[in-house]
Every structure is written in C-alpha cells, then in structure tokens.
C-alpha cells in the first residue's frame, strides 16, 4: 500500500509541480468548455436572408418587419430581380432568398392560397432547414393575423400541443455543457494516462520502476489512481461551471453522478493504459489517443444521434464509453434519472473497464519478469 501511495504521490507531483504542467491541466479544458459551449451550437441566429419583394403591399411590408425583428436574421438583403438571386446564394451572401409574388398581399386578404418561393443554400443544408422551419412558422402566423384582419374565418389551431420535457425552452447549452463534461473528462483522462507511461519510457524511468520490487498490479494501480483523481477534479470543475455559470439544472443524484463517473473514468483509463502499453514514445501515445478519441467523439451521439448511423456502426459504438456516459450525464442533469436506468448504462462501462484494464495488466506483465 505504501508503495502504491509513493507512486501516486510521485505521479501527482509530476503532473502538478511545474506551473506549466498545472496550466496544461487546467487552462485548455476550461477554455475548451467555454469555447465549445458557445461555438458548438446547431441553433441558427444572425444569418442573412434575401427577400425579392414583387408585392410591395401591406402584408409583405409586415412580413419584412417581422423578419427583421427576429434574432434568426441579422440582415434582410433586398433583392432586385431573379438574376440577382443566383449571385447572392452562389456567393454565400445569404443563406436563403424569399420570393414574394405580386399577388401576395391580395391573396392573403382574399383568403385564397398565396404562393411564395423559398430558395435555400443546400451547401449548408442543416442551417437552411432550420431557417425553413422558422420562415414557415412566421408565415403561418402572418396568415392567421391577415385572416383575422380581413374578418375571414379563423383557421384551425395547431393540432399539436407540444411540451419539451426536461428542457422546456430547448436551451441548447443545457445539452452541450453536460455533454462537454463527459467529453472533456474523457480527453484529458486519456491524455494524462497514455502519456504518463510513455513519458517514463522515453526518459528511462520506466525501467527504474520495472527493476524495483513493485509488482505489475502495483504499477498499474499507481498509474491509474492519479488520472482518476484528475478526472474527478475535472468532473467537479465542469459540474460547478455547468450549474453556476451556465445555469444548467441538476435534477439527479450527485452520488449517482460521482459513482458512474468513477466507472466511466476506469474505462477511459483502461483504454489510456492500453494505448500507452502499445506506444514507445509520447508522440505515439498522443497519436494513439487521437486515433481513439476522434471516432469516439463523433460516434458518441453528441454530434448526431446514434440512431442515424447504420446498424453495424451502432453496434460498434457499444464499446465507446462516451456513448454510455453521455446518456447518464444528460439523464442526471436534466431528467432525474433513476438508479436502475443509470445502472443499465453503467454496466457496459464497467465491462469496458474490466476488459481494458485487464488487457493493460496483461501487456504490462508480459514486459516484466
């Protein structure tokens, strides 16, 4: 035990002693949390839209005003003619052009179908679809108001009563910030773990450990505990930032969060040790971590839902710890997820941890007598 303690203290000192090392551990993750939270949003705001207004009537003027007032659009670009539409969209000066025909206001007042064209930039199809949805809502409100003004019978209400559970106003950051907690703890844990062995190997101190009376299990424990502590520290910092800075509600049980975080970190550390036992230099360790982390992030359900992936890839993501922990962390933040549901996602994490730590131990032992 004393030996493991000596190892743990040494690892922590190696990480924290030099001010630069402390900075690397604290600066980039916090910076990333903030930049990502604000930049990684699939919401659309402040885009430019072009309007070709052939109508020049009361309701087209009203529509322009409403477009202008919305946060989605930063600027309404007037379009002179059909030819200009090409240029504006081609050169990405606007994301979409709304084309109102000469009879727009008249048709609205008359209560007949008014046709408008909406041309969107398919190169940015995701943002464009959100813009389309927004324009649709705006126009349907406009229609209702116009009919009311003209004294026409009201059209039926929206048949849908929608309630967004867990996040009534669909705050995007309520989604990104907890997800980033999971993602950034994984990245940092992976790097800290995989480098700690590679660095010692490069400096020759790993041999020093191997010739000491430590057993492989002791070395493994000594290498795993410090990243676990670092991971818990990062988790706590991100948790506090999420609750107190970003105002994300935390509805679940803290004990469950920390409990599952430990299991998650064990899985991540197992992977990190596995990578480091395969790499001879720090550079290889970094590349190995990257090679694992890039797919792990992309295929976690963070960028896009896992359901959208082909079947075989969905199966492959089962070995991705981030995928399982994302469910837990969002569940505990927003959904007050109960124990049995958390356990259902923590179980695969525990399996990953057992397999990777076991493999790493085997690889370690193979190198030693």
């Amino acid at each position: 035990m004393g030996r493991i303690l000596a190892l743990v203290i040494k690892e922590l000192l190696a990480l924290l002693r030099d001010p630069k090392g402390r900075m690397v551990l604290i600066g980039p993750p916090i910076l990333q949390l903030f930049v990502f939270s604000y930049a990684a949003t699939l919401e659309v705001s402040n885009v430019r839209i072009g309007v070709l207004d052939r109508d020049d009537g009361l309701w087209s003027a009203e529509l322009l005003q409403r477009l202008d007032a919305s946060d989605t659009f930063a600027e309404i670009v007037p379009v002179d003619g059909v030819q200009a539409i090409d240029r504006l969209i081609d050169q990405r000066q606007v994301i979409a052009v709304l084309h109102l025909g000469p009879a727009f206001s008249r048709d609205l007042m008359a209560g007949t179908d008014a046709t408008v064209q909406l041309l969107l930039d398919g190169r940015r199809s995701n943002a464009a679809q959100i813009v389309e949805g927004y324009v649709r809502r705006l126009l349907s409100d406009l229609n209702r108001d116009a009919r009311a003004r003209a004294g026409l019978p009201a059209i039926p209400e929206d048949p849908l009563v929608v309630r967004h559970w867990f996040n009534p106003t669909l705050e995007y950051q309520w989604f990104t910030v907890p997800s980033l907690l999971a993602m950034l703890t994984m990245l940092m844990g992976l790097i800290v773990t995989s480098l700690s062995v590679a660095r010692e190997r490069e400096l020759g101190t790993f041999d020093q450990l191997l010739v000491s009376p430590l057993t492989p299990a002791q070395i493994l424990a000594g290498k795993s505990l410090p990243p676990l502590l670092v991971g818990l520290f990062h988790g706590t910092v991100f948790l506090l930032a999420a609750i107190f800075f970003f105002g994300v509600p935390f509805t679940g049980s803290l004990a469950l969060l920390y409990g599952s975080l430990v299991v998650y970190l064990a899985a991540v550390i197992g992977i990190g040790l596995f990578i480091s036992s395969l790499s001879a230099t720090q550079q290889q360790a970094i590349l190995g971590s990257f090679l694992f982390a890039a797919p792990a992030v992309l295929l976690s359900g963070f960028a896009t839902p896992v359901e959208n992936m082909p079947e075989w890839l969905q199966t492959a993501t089962l070995i991705n710890p981030l995928r399982h922990f994302l469910v837990i962390v969002k569940g505990l933040f927003l959904k007050d997820m109960p124990l049995e549901t958390v356990a259902a996602s923590a179980l695969p994490l525990a399996l990953i941890a057992i397999v990777t730590l076991g493999t790493a131990a085997w690889l370690f032992r193979r190198r030693m007598g």
């Binding site: 604000y38 967004h164 090679l291 359901e307 992936m309 997820m337």
Partner: protein, 359 residues
C-alpha cells in the same frame, strides 16, 4: 534546383518509412472520411418515437399514418406511463399522446426529450407535418387556405448531410496533414539534430523552406485527390466545379496550414509538445470554428473574431461550393486571397521563429 530536388526526395522517402507519417497522411484521412461518410449524419431516418394509442377508429388511422412515415420508428403503448421511462432512458426521443375518444382535428399532445434540443425540434416538426397532412386528407375537413411555401434547396435537393460533411472532412484531412504532420516532422528534425546538420551545409534557408513546403503541399494535394475520389465514387457526392478550382483552393489553404506547422515545430521543444499544439491550434479550430458543422454567424461575436484567423474558415465554404455548386470564382478568389494573406503572415512568423530557435 538540385538541392531542392534532393530535399524533396528525402522527404518523400521519409514519409513512406515513418509509421506515424503514414498514420497521419494515409490512415487518419480514411478514418475521418468514413466517419463523416457513414457515422455522422444529420439526416434523421430512424428516430424512435413512442405512441400512446387508445382504441378508436380515427386514432388507429392516424397511428397508421405515423407508422408509415420513413423518418421515425413508432413504438406503441396503451398507457403513457409505459413510455415515460423509455424517454428518461433516452431509448425514445418523444411521445405522441392521442387522447381517449380521439376524432380527427382534436388536439394531440407531443412530449419530446428536451435534453437533445435538435432532435426534439425534429420530432415536433415531423409529427406536425404528418398530423396536418392527415387532418387535411380526412374527408369532410377541407384544408384551410394559407400560404403555400415552395421551398427549394439549391445544390443539395435531397438534403443529404453527407454532401456537405464529406467535403468538410476533406478540409480536416488537409489541416491534419498540413499542420500536424509538418509540425511533427520538422520538430523531429530539430530533436535529432538533422536540422542543424542541414543548416551547416551550403543549402540556403529558402531552399530548406521550399524543400519542406513543396513535398507536404504535394502530399496534402494527393491526399485531397484520394479523398475526392472516395467522396465522388463511394459516397456519391457530386463534383460540380472544376478540378482546377479544387486544386487552387486546396493549395491556397495548405500555405497557411504548413506555415502553422512550421511555426509550431520551431516553437516546440519536442514532438510531444508539437503534436499537442498542432491538435489544439490546428485540428480543433478546423472542426469547430470553421463553419464545418456549426454556423459561424450564430456564434458570439468574440468567437467570430477568432474565426477570422482560422484558415479552414475560408476553405470550407469554397470546398463545399466546388463540390456542390460549381465554379463560383468571385467566392473562390476572395477565400483564396484571405488564405494566402494568412499564409504570408504565418510563413513570416515561421521564418522568424526558426531564426530565433537557432540563437
């Protein structure tokens, strides 16, 4: 010229023999391309939605309409409570509750999983579309007049996210090769003392710089070509612009990317620091701050300022355009000019950092 050719040849031999160069130049690009081609898709095709279905004729009819649609997979239950657990667990993304004694036109409750705003919004809009369509098609309920919107998506009428993600991932690949690979290769030369040995020969610094620049430019373009072929033939992404434009845009991007790699290598003590810096200052901004997935216009202003010095910000629009739209030179020229300007600054800084490193 002879010296330059010798340096180029050396660089080519080295890339072919060093496992981490092969990894970065050939393996990572393929992995990324496949991930973006298969794994990442913003097109919802099989989102699971719960349906609470009482026994009524109209309800069964609406349920049939919902079940028949391609965008969602419907999980039916008699009672809401059977589904709420699944919503908490994230197994389903929303619940459509059809009330008892439902008749066409009656309000329908939709509950979504707000912990994923994007999907929640998709569920809402998707269900609304089906219900409205179903209401309109029900006999005796003529569709009310309204505004008919003819929406047309230019360049990508099928709205396949792969069409813009795959060209974007080519940009990431070039950022990796330009910045990460150059940073590693050059910092290894410093580490092993070969840089110093080179500088003590009659090679001029310009030749040395070109000797690094041209091979990695060619490597980046080669990788781009392979990715393009895969994109077109495997993922069915159209290439509507000219090869010339594609090459010109890519080459212009590689100038600042390589410059960044050279700066990093001259500033870093070792390959480890170099790889960290390259990932942090090259790869991450190219993914996040380039407009690749996230709209730059929607970011806070401070972050928007940062994006102006991210070369990938200029590459991605042009790349998406040359694939999906065609040759739109006014757009290309603006972006190329911006990239070359950043490139000139980076190259100057690289030369300066190299000089300092020696002293």
């Amino acid at each position: 010229m002879r010296r330059f050719l010798a340096l180029t040849r050396k660089e080519a031999l080295q890339v072919g023999r060093d496992p981490s160069s092969i990894l970065i130049a050939f393996v990572l690009p393929l992995i990324l391309l496949f991930l973006f081609g298969y794994g990442v898709s913003l097109d919802a095709t099989s989102i699971r939605v719960g349906l609470v279905l009482p026994s009524s004729e109209d309800a069964d009819d609406l349920a049939a309409a919902l079940t028949a649609s391609d965008g969602i997979v419907v999980v039916t239950a008699r009672d809401r409570r059977q589904l709420t657990g699944a919503l908490v667990a994230g197994d389903i993304r929303g619940i459509v509750v059809i009330p008892e004694n439902f008749r066409a036109g009656d309000p329908i409750q939709v509950l979504t999983d707000g912990s994923e705003p994007n999907t929640a919004r998709f569920v809402e809009n998707y269900v609304r579309g089906i219900v409205q369509g179903w209401n309109a098609s029900t006999p005796g309920r003529p569709s009310p007049p309204g505004i008919v919107i003819e929406a047309r998506y230019w360049f990508n009428p099928g709205l396949e996210s792969r069409h813009f993600l795959v060209p974007g991932s080519i940009a990431l690949v070039m950022a990796l090769i330009g910045t990460l690979l150059t940073a590693l290769v050059v910092s290894r030369e410093w580490e092993r003392g070969t840089m110093e040995a080179m500088l003590a020969t009659p090679v001029s610094p310009v030749e040395l710089l070109l000797g690094k620049f041209v091979p990695y430019l060619l490597l980046g373009l080669g990788s781009m070509a392979i990715c393009t072929m895969l994109a077109v033939w495997l993922f069915g992404v159209p290439l509507r612009g000219s090869i010339l434009a594609l090459v010109a845009i890519s080459a212009a991007f590689l100038v600042p990317a390589l410059g960044q790699g050279l700066i990093i290598s001259a500033l870093s003590k070792n390959q480890f620091v170099a790889s960290q810096l390259a990932l942090l200052s090259g790869f991450l901004p190219a993914t996040l701050l380039s407009g690749f997935i996230f709209e730059i216009d929607s970011m806070p202003e401070v972050i928007q300022w940062i994006t102006f010095v991210v070369p990938a910000r200029y590459l991605i629009p042009s790349l998406q355009t040359v694939f999906l739209a065609g040759d739109i030179w006014p757009l290309f020229l603006g972006d190329i000019a911006a990239m070359l300007a950043i490139g000139a600054v980076f190259m100057g800084l690289a030369a300066n950092a190299t000089r300092k490193r020696l002293a």
